[in-house]
């Protein structure tokens, strides 16, 4: 598509068979090929009108309505003769021009002068406004633009340890969550939880953790810390019993009075179980 002239006639507005056409012949004979090119280049009736006016080096403010109308209509007629797709707006503009022309011919009563607008006024206003934005579009197109006139730049970052996102959690949130989930499930009743003191649960985890750290194999007595006192020992013992009951650990003893070993249940303890030689 050819870009129509931006300001005056200097630029060719069409290339016809390789020849630049800088202005249509004044007799309005335009080769059909050229006309098609021209029409494709117009953005609408205002654009075409603007072109017709500029072509004659005229100011928008001094539109010779009769002449411009005649030219405009000729273009339209040719377009129709060539059966070019013609937007309805072009016909509306033709009608508007014809109306302005007829109003211009009517004598204006002197006393009404103040109220009666020049019939061209509305057209001039629209042409000016259109011209303004036609120019603005060109200005925007001329702005330095990304990926045409400039590019954003980028540098790589060495592998970084991503800082862990520490989401704050309040203990109340935790309780609320627990309350909610318990409300949905009656698997846990509160008396059960209260009977199972948390310290036993905690110690169960601790025993399993100790086992894990020792390769799933630890001597029974190592799980007790005398410095914790009687209560501590009881809690540890209860937790070991609980774990046994849940089949989470096994106890092993090679012979009577030999040391008792605690092993993680199943696979983890296979090697250690073999070392002990027997399974209790």
């Amino acid at each position: 598509m050819q870009i129509p002239p931006t300001a005056q006639e200097e630029m060719p507005f069409a290339i016809v068979q390789g020849e630049p056409v800088s202005a249509p012949p004044t007799d309005l004979y335009i080769p059909p090929d050229a006309l098609e090119v021209i029409l494709e280049a117009f953005e609408g009736p205002l654009d075409l009108l603007l072109y017709l006016i500029k072509r004659q080096n005229l100011d928008i403010l001094e539109i010779p309505i009769a002449e411009v109308t005649a030219q405009y209509v000729e273009y339209i007629e040719m377009m129709r003769a060539l059966r070019l797709e013609l937007a309805a707006e072009y016909l509306v503009m033709a009608a508007m021009l014809a109306e302005i022309k007829s109003r211009m011919l009517l004598p204006r009563p002197v006393e009404d002068d103040a109220d009666e607008e020049d019939p061209r006024a509305e057209l001039i206003r629209r042409l000016q406004e259109y011209e303004q934005f036609k120019q603005a579009a060109e200005d925007i197109d001329a702005l330095p633009r990304l990926y045409r006139d400039t590019w954003p730049v980028h540098a790589e970052t060495p592998e970084l340890e991503q800082p862990r996102i520490e989401v704050p959690v309040d203990l109340k949130d935790l309780l609320t969550a627990l309350k909610a989930v318990l409300a949905r499930a009656d698997m846990f009743t509160s008396h059960q939880i209260e009977r199972e003191t948390l310290s036993v649960r905690e110690r169960m985890s601790a025993v399993l953790d100790t086992l894990r750290q020792h390769g799933g194999f630890v001597e029974f007595t190592q799980l007790f810390k005398p410095e914790e006192g009687r209560l501590g020992v009881v809690v540890s013992f209860l937790s070991i019993l609980e774990l046994l009951k849940a089949h989470l650990i096994d106890l092993a003893q090679a012979e009577s009075f030999a040391p008792i070993y605690v092993t993680a249940a199943g696979g983890d303890a296979e090697a250690s179980g073999a070392a002990v030689g027997a399974n209790g």
Binding site: E43, A87, M93, E117, R120, Q132, A137, L146, T150, W151
Partner: protein, 209 residues
């Protein structure tokens, strides 16, 4: 923190980020510092970096656009490196550019308003393209029958066209004063440029200091 290190961190952050970084965002980089730099320190460091880029052996410049600061290729060097990319930069049709211009200068604006000025229908394709590029957005609806969408430009649009704010758009060509030349025309209607100025005054809130 001394300016030397501040400059190094800012340069690294802005080049490593994949979007322009706002001053707020930059300031947040230093939240955990014992002595975080004050905003004016950051601005001073940015200016120092920008000044250093002006040296002729530098090929990039530090630029403030609508959504923040970014490094970009200097225009003087752009032609020399454009062959890095196989594809030619996209050309936009006049219809698209005129539609975009009307939205940029007259926002918020309906499709009907645009059609009135351009004198032709605005194709849905153009609006779709502009939306997909994230250059325009719907900011509301005019409360008239049909509730047509009101379009406005986005920060992405400003970023893309190297602008800090709508203020930086080229000024509209002044309309000839019809009354002065042809008083008999009686064109007392309000003048477009004034209205533009007033409207754009609202949006141009990100002036650089």
């Amino acid at each position: 923190m001394d300016q030397t290190r501040l400059m190094a961190i800012l340069e690294a952050a802005i080049t490593a980020a994949d979007k322009p970084l706002s001053l707020d965002r930059l300031q947040r980089l230093f939240e955990d510092e014992a002595e975080p730099p004050a905003r004016p320190d950051i601005v001073a460091a940015l200016n120092a970096i920008a000044a250093a880029c002006e040296a002729p052996e530098r090929g990039i410049e530090l630029k403030q656009v609508a959504s923040g600061w970014r490094f970009q290729v200097k225009e003087a060097v752009a032609p020399a490196i454009s062959r890095l990319w196989e594809e030619k930069p996209q050309k936009y049709s006049r219809a698209l550019l005129e539609t975009l211009a009307l939205i940029a200068y007259r926002q918020p604006i309906t499709r009907g308003d645009i059609e009135q000025v351009r004198g032709v229908a605005v194709s849905s394709h153009i609006i779709k393209t502009l939306m997909e590029r994230d250059w325009i957005q719907v900011v509301g609806h005019r409360e008239v029958p049909g509730r047509p969408a009101l379009y406005a430009t986005t920060k992405t649009f400003l970023d893309y066209f190297n602008l800090k704010s709508l203020d930086e758009l080229p000024s509209l060509k002044a309309l000839a004063d019809l009354d002065a030349i042809h008083p008999e025309l009686g064109l007392e209607e309000e003048k477009t440029p004034d209205r533009q100025d007033a409207e754009r005054g609202d949006t141009g809130d990100e002036k650089s200091s």
